[in-house]
């Protein structure tokens, strides 16, 4: 008998809090994020995820292997040596991989006047954006470009916090970046999660022999970095509009080598 009024009262209070949240939302919207930036700047210690914490998760798997070895192997000394060797092997493999990716990066991009900060993917949020290490502590700012190990642009920064940032990647549907080809034609590169959609926005010379579409200082980027390679892709020209669709074969993972580009 008393259930119905109680339930209605609950609904009313929920709605009041929805309105309160909406008011905060509007306040933040009209203050252009100043409200949320102020709070997050002063309470950044409440963010529990760091590179160390992620590394801890990474080493968890190694510890499980160690425990298994303890049970199997009766000779403790030999077991420790095996584990030590395995650790060294893993470290060696990681270093070899890092050298290889750094070499590829050096080959593909212009290194003058820019600094590359190696970053790590920390987590993926509910909206499928990636949180990466590095924020105001290394002077990152919105729209800083993010490259993969081959030097291709795979995203840009959309939000900066004290020690971490949020990036929009080529697998986000909000991803949108202008680019230029070797003939001076300008394009807008967008994504539908599975493919990159390339559409011209300004044509200087109609030529479908496009190798790369790159970022450019004309779009307030700090230099020319390749966004997409079109040499092996089908490029079409209709009504003086050049367009192409390129499948995204890059997969983001916990071990992805990504680099944030900054001006020196």
């Amino acid at each position: 008998m008393f259930q119905e009024p109680k339930k209605r009262r609950n609904y009313v209070i929920y709605i009041i809090f929805i309105l309160l949240s909406s008011s905060i939302f509007l306040a933040d919207l009209f203050s252009n994020n100043k409200f949320s930036d102020f709070i997050s700047d002063n309470t950044d210690f409440l963010f529990p995820i760091s590179q160390e914490a992620i590394s801890l998760f990474d080493s968890l798997e190694l510890n499980i292997i160690k425990n298994k070895n303890t049970l199997i192997n009766e000779n403790i000394r030999l077991k420790n040596e095996v584990i030590e060797l395995r650790k060294l092997k893993l470290i060696n493999e990681r270093l070899v991989e890092e050298i290889r990716s750094n070499n590829e990066l050096i080959n593909n991009v212009n290194l003058e006047n820019v600094i590359y900060y190696k970053s790590t993917i920390l987590i993926k949020n509910i909206e499928d954006d990636y949180l990466i290490s590095g924020g105001r502590n290394i002077n990152l700012s919105k729209n800083d470009l993010i490259l993969n190990e081959e030097g291709f642009v795979v995203g840009y920064i959309v939000e900066v916090f004290d020690d971490h940032s949020i990036m929009s990647t080529i697998i986000n549907t909000e991803f949108s970046i202008p680019g230029i080809d070797k003939y001076g034609n300008q394009y807008l590169v967008t994504s539908n999660r599975e493919e990159l959609l390339i559409n011209s926005i300004y044509i200087e010379e109609v030529n479908l022999n496009i190798d790369y579409i790159s970022t450019d200082v004309a779009f307030d980027h700090i230099g020319q970095f390749p966004i997409v390679r079109l040499s092996n892709e089908e490029v079409s020209n209709a009504n003086n509009k050049i367009s192409a669709v390129v499948e995204i074969d890059y997969k983001f993972s916990f071990d992805s080598n990504i680099y944030i580009v900054k001006e020196k």
């Binding site: 905060i24 919207l29 309470t43 949180l131």
Partner: protein, 156 residues
């Protein structure tokens, strides 16, 4: 005592939210996700719906907006509170059976992942949302059975 209980709910909600994000690391960012926080929201919405959880819904949303997203502050709180109220309302209107409960759970996942659906609307994305619903609904049922104490009494 009430304040203490509210604070403990807030900590529980935030802990599960962070856990959910950490689980993404183990799954290597696969599209099929385990969503413990959504399971908690759903469990509370249909079994324990009350005012006592409003601060937890509200503050966990604010916390999420502050550190994990580029959304404007308050956006996620609205989403969490809306899930609570909508799911409870619809669940009360529908018959108490497996199919309608799953439908309500699917709706909860759809609201929870609505950016994912709106921005990349396609058959594949809807299938992914459906599969996420199946996996998490199964987990929800497991937790629900475990939490019902009378199951043990009956078995005795």
């Amino acid at each position: 005592m009430k304040t203490l209980r509210s604070i403990s709910y807030i900590f529980l909600f935030i802990a599960l939210l962070v856990l959910e994000l950490f689980i993404g690391i183990f799954s290597e960012f696969s599209d099929l996700e385990i969503l413990p926080f959504l399971i908690l929201l759903f469990y509370i919405s249909i079994n324990k719906f009350s005012n006592a959880y409003i601060p937890a819904f509200f503050i966990s949303g604010i916390y999420y907006d502050l550190f994990y997203t580029s959304n404007y502050l308050g956006f996620t709180s609205v989403k969490f509170l809306s899930i609570g109220i909508v799911i409870n309302f619809i669940n009360n209107k529908l018959d108490d059976n497996f199919f309608s409960e799953f439908l309500v759970f699917f709706l909860a996942v759809a609201i929870y992942k609505f950016e994912f659906i709106i921005y990349s609307y396609s058959f594949i994305q809807l299938t992914i949302v459906f599969l996420i619903s199946v996996i998490n609904y199964f987990l929800f049922k497991l937790i629900n059975i475990t939490l019902k104490r009378y199951v043990f009494k009956k078995s005795i």
